[in-house]
């Protein structure tokens, strides 16, 4: 028999991407409801994704916007 926590780990990414089937979703949720360590790891992954997104966000330099606008083809 497969280790339910290992199986839960396999389902983590598609679960958070909302890419699991309904049956798989129910299976993951049933395991998470009774397994604190897996629940913590799922919560961590969720926070990590948000944190990484925010950390790497870099606003566009203002002068680039002007350079792009200058590339427009003038009307004849």
């Amino acid at each position: 028999m497969t280790d339910p926590c290992a199986h839960c780990e396999e389902m983590m990414q598609p679960y958070l991407d909302r890419a699991l089937s309904e049956a798989e979703m129910a299976e993951a949720e049933a395991h998470l409801a009774e397994c604190e360590p897996c629940r913590r790891r799922y919560r961590f992954e969720e926070s990590l994704r948000v944190y990484v997104r925010q950390a790497v966000l870099e606003p566009m330099p203002a002068e680039l916007r002007q350079k792009l606008a200058a590339l427009r083809i003038p009307l004849e």
Binding site: R43, E58, P61, K67, I73
Partner: protein
């Protein structure tokens, strides 16, 4: 002298082109944010975005109105990125790079004072460490992470942009995220030493 129909056609075309350019420029910020991490540096990202827009403005007629303009622009951008030979592939040793999905959590948990709050654990990672870890992920995997996780593109859009099957997007995404976590674990642990 121009026929009235021809004059009308030209006027319509000019109007469509101006609208296209304005729509494309309105997406520049979003395009840059993705480009920044597809390219190796800020300077490369800026050049790449400029080349993308220059090409887009020239070939605006090949864009089908009503389809996803942001994906269309990113498709140009990723092609240019490949053409410019900026994809010097490291030959990644996947077994060495890739750990399981819980690796980062487990390493942070064991290096800290026990895990009580998952969000606090995440905060042990510095911004610089995250940027460096992302740029250390090999291109094929990073492109997918950047498009899906940072650019909010669907698996299908990412597949079209990169011209690869959806199944490949999913497998690269899952493996790429594991590689990223492995890189993050290494930089976090180095800092703790």
């Amino acid at each position: 002298m121009e026929e009235p129909e021809e004059a009308q056609r030209l006027a319509n075309e000019a109007r469509d082109r101006v609208r296209f350019e304005e729509d494309a420029l309105a997406l520049a910020e979003q395009v840059y944010r993705v480009a920044r991490h597809l390219a190796g540096s800020r300077e490369e990202a800026e050049e790449l975005v400029q080349e993308t827009y220059a090409r887009a403005f020239r070939s605006w007629r090949s864009f089908q109105p009503g389809t996803n303009l942001r994906a269309w622009l990113l498709r140009i951008l990723t092609n240019l990125n490949i053409d410019r030979g900026r994809r010097q592939q490291r030959a990644p040793q996947m077994q060495a790079l890739e750990a399981n999905d819980y690796y980062l959590y487990d390493r942070l948990a064991e290096s800290g004072d026990g895990v009580s709050d998952e969000e606090r654990v995440v905060e042990r990672l510095s911004r610089d460490a995250i940027v460096a870890a992302l740029s250390a992920v090999p291109h094929d995997f990073r492109d997918v992470i950047v498009l899906v996780d940072l650019g909010d593109f669907s698996y299908q859009d990412a597949a079209q942009i990169l011209d690869i099957p959806v199944g490949t997007v999913m497998s690269r995404l899952h493996r790429g995220r594991r590689i990223l976590k492995r890189e993050l674990a290494e930089s976090a642990l180095e800092k703790a030493r």
